[in-house]
């Protein structure tokens, strides 16, 4: 009960407070929500199904490129392009997932093959003139056009990504209590035992893959609209894949709130370190690495795992 009060209070603050925040803090909050959202999307496959993807940049990039290209060539509103990107990403996810799962890739082998798929898409994007090759794509004309997913200030973008993050958390919560959710947990804990108990592990993992890649692609479209510029390294590069899994693992993989908690810790930390050591590129990512090592060494179930253990004790 207390948890629900805290949660509604937190959501209330996140909805009411931002208009009064200075622009710098609003930008940080948008980053927190975007990374929390990406973490939540990754969490469905990585945290619940236990399939550690190192290549979610593939879906992020597909989302960003699909909506942007549809807008630039056909004038299709990115709101619809977003769905198209999501569907395309889910199809690609099903393809990559079917190949990997069908041939029994597990653990680190699955991680490596997903990394390879994302890198292949990056190389293709770099070498394809039609998608702007390594120069990337710019979304011109930044005058306010809400129907085309372009807003005048940053505040509307904040509310979009807040809604997306809350939706992702709601989906995760629903998933946790569904047949799919229970099957995924069984697969994560012991796939052979789950199979023996009659769980269709291939089908369940593919469903998790489709959902996770679909949601990740929507994040890609948001990124493209918010920054109005995408290129192969930004969208398909390994850094994107790492961002998603980092939030989830630090916050607690396989928990509903973990990814968002992770983002609330990691993003401000990286901003602070960047502000403290101006002009020194790399400090923030170095801290990410350090936090990752420390979390795995001392809080192997992330911050949420730690909270849960303390509550039980």
């Amino acid at each position: 009960m207390a948890a629900e009060v805290v949660a509604s209070l937190a959501v209330g603050i996140l909805v009411v407070a931002p208009p009064f925040l200075p622009p710098y803090f609003l930008e940080i909050l948008i980053s927190v929500m975007l990374f929390g959202y990406l973490g939540a999307a990754w969490n469905i496959l990585g945290g619940y199904a236990g399939q550690f993807s190192f290549g979610h940049a593939a879906y992020f990039g597909i989302g960003a490129y699909t909506s942007t290209l549809l807008f630039l060539t056909l004038g299709l509103t990115p709101w619809l392009g977003m769905l198209a990107g999501g569907v395309l990403a889910a199809v690609f996810g099903l393809f990559a997932g079917y190949l990997s799962f069908r041939y029994g890739l597990r653990g680190p082998y699955f991680s490596l093959v997903t990394l390879a798929f994302a890198e292949m898409l990056r190389v293709v994007a770099v070498n394809t003139k039609a998608v702007g090759s390594s120069l990337g794509l710019v979304i011109p004309n930044r005058e306010s056009a809400p129907l085309n997913f372009v807003f005048a200030g940053k505040l509307p973008y904040y509310y979009v990504i807040l809604a997306m993050a809350l939706a992702a958390l709601w989906i995760t919560r629903r998933l946790e209590r569904s047949k799919l959710g229970y099957s995924l947990l069984a697969i994560r804990e012991n796939e052979d035992a789950a199979e023996a108990a009659g769980v269709d592990s291939l089908g369940m993992k593919l469903r998790a893959m489709a959902l996770s890649s679909f949601l990740t692609a929507l994040g890609g479209t948001f990124y493209a609209q918010y920054f109005a510029y995408i290129d192969p390294t930004i969208t398909f590069g390994p850094a994107v894949s790492i961002q998603g899994l980092l939030q989830a693992i630090v916050g607690g993989a396989g928990t509903v709130l973990g990814p968002v908690i992770g983002a609330f810790v990691l993003t401000p930390m990286s901003e602070l370190s960047r502000a403290a050591l101006r002009g020194r590129a790399g400090v923030d990512v170095m801290l990410y690495g350090l936090v990752l090592i420390l979390v795995i060494s001392f809080l192997p179930n992330g911050l949420m795992g730690w909270v849960r253990r303390r509550r039980r004790a």
Partner: protein, 291 residues
């Protein structure tokens, strides 16, 4: 496409392939004993390349001579990293151990970025541009030396694993961890030694390539990914397979670069990687532990 160009591609590919083989041997050794895929392997190589660079720039130490320093130094550094970071998490879940080496890679790579910025640096000793013609193909001497040095080092590694007590203990541990422990092998020490030897190997590879490569914080990444491909192709934990498939991957990359436009050459390597992972996860040569 002329025959000359193809011949050139074959020569360059094979020469770099030797280096891939050495990088992958180190990775394979670490996997064989510790059962982890070391994402920080390329970052260790990068640090060794910076060491070579600074020794050359500040103290005028020849890159090849500096191997006498970098090899042992990174052997020790590898042991320290293993003791401090990896050993305490020996019983952690497999994916968490993977994350651990990913964290290590992020720390090391960005430490280099913080310390030395992202500029490309080069080490160019007087012989850097020496070359000769082999039939119609140009052979650059530093690349030939790198390949030769890498093969010698890899052979030395095989000899070490076959002939010395420590080497035999490493192989025993890779094959049958519990049996090795029951036979009185100091498992803790051997794990550290294996990580140290793997790191030493990749450090030597780093020193060998500096005379014809560049040095930058992310230079290890491409070698790391290449080493993943090589190790999977050769069979995880199979050292001879690693050396052989190093040549195959080097050749595939180089032929891809000649036959395909732009940077699509990487596509060939990744495609090869995915195909091998899917269809021959125990490696082309066999004997590795798949899946």
């Amino acid at each position: 496409m002329t025959a000359d160009l193809l011949l050139q591609a074959v020569v360059s590919g094979l020469l770099l392939g030797g280096v891939y083989g050495l990088v992958a041997s180190g990775l394979s050794l670490i996997f064989g004993v510790l059962r982890i895929i070391n994402f920080a392997h390329g970052a260790v190589m990068m640090l060794a390349m910076y060491t070579t660079y600074w020794l050359f720039t500040l103290l005028k130490v020849d890159p090849y001579l500096s191997i006498l320093v970098t090899g042992p130094a990174f052997f020790v550094l590898g042991m320290i990293i293993q003791r401090l970071v990896i050993e305490p998490n020996r019983f952690a879940a497999e994916h968490n151990q993977l994350m651990l080496t990913l964290g290590l890679a992020l720390v090391l790579e960005n430490l280099a970025l913080v310390l030395w910025q992202g500029d490309f640096r080069t080490v160019r000793p007087p012989y850097a541009s020496a070359s000769f013609m082999l039939g119609e193909a140009l052979v650059e001497v530093p690349r030939l030396v790198a390949c030769g040095g890498a093969v010698v080092m890899a052979l030395a590694l095989f000899a070490f694993l076959r002939l010395t007590d420590v080497g035999k203990a490493i192989r025993a541990l890779a094959e049958e961890p519990e049996g090795a422990m029951l036979m009185g092998i100091d498992v803790r020490r051997i794990r550290a030694v294996a990580f140290g030897v793997g790191s030493g190997c990749v450090a030597v590879a780093g020193a060998l390539v500096t005379p014809f490569f560049y040095v930058a914080p992310d230079v290890g990444e491409s070698f790391n990914i290449m080493a993943f491909v090589v190790v999977v192709l050769g069979g995880m934990g199979n050292f001879v397979g690693a050396l052989l498939s190093g040549f195959i991957v080097g050749l595939a990359e180089s032929l891809g670069a000649t036959l395909l436009p732009g940077s699509l050459k990487q596509l060939v390597v990744f495609a090869l990687f995915v195909l091998v992972l899917l269809f021959r996860p125990a490696g082309l040569v066999g004997g590795g532990r798949g899946r």
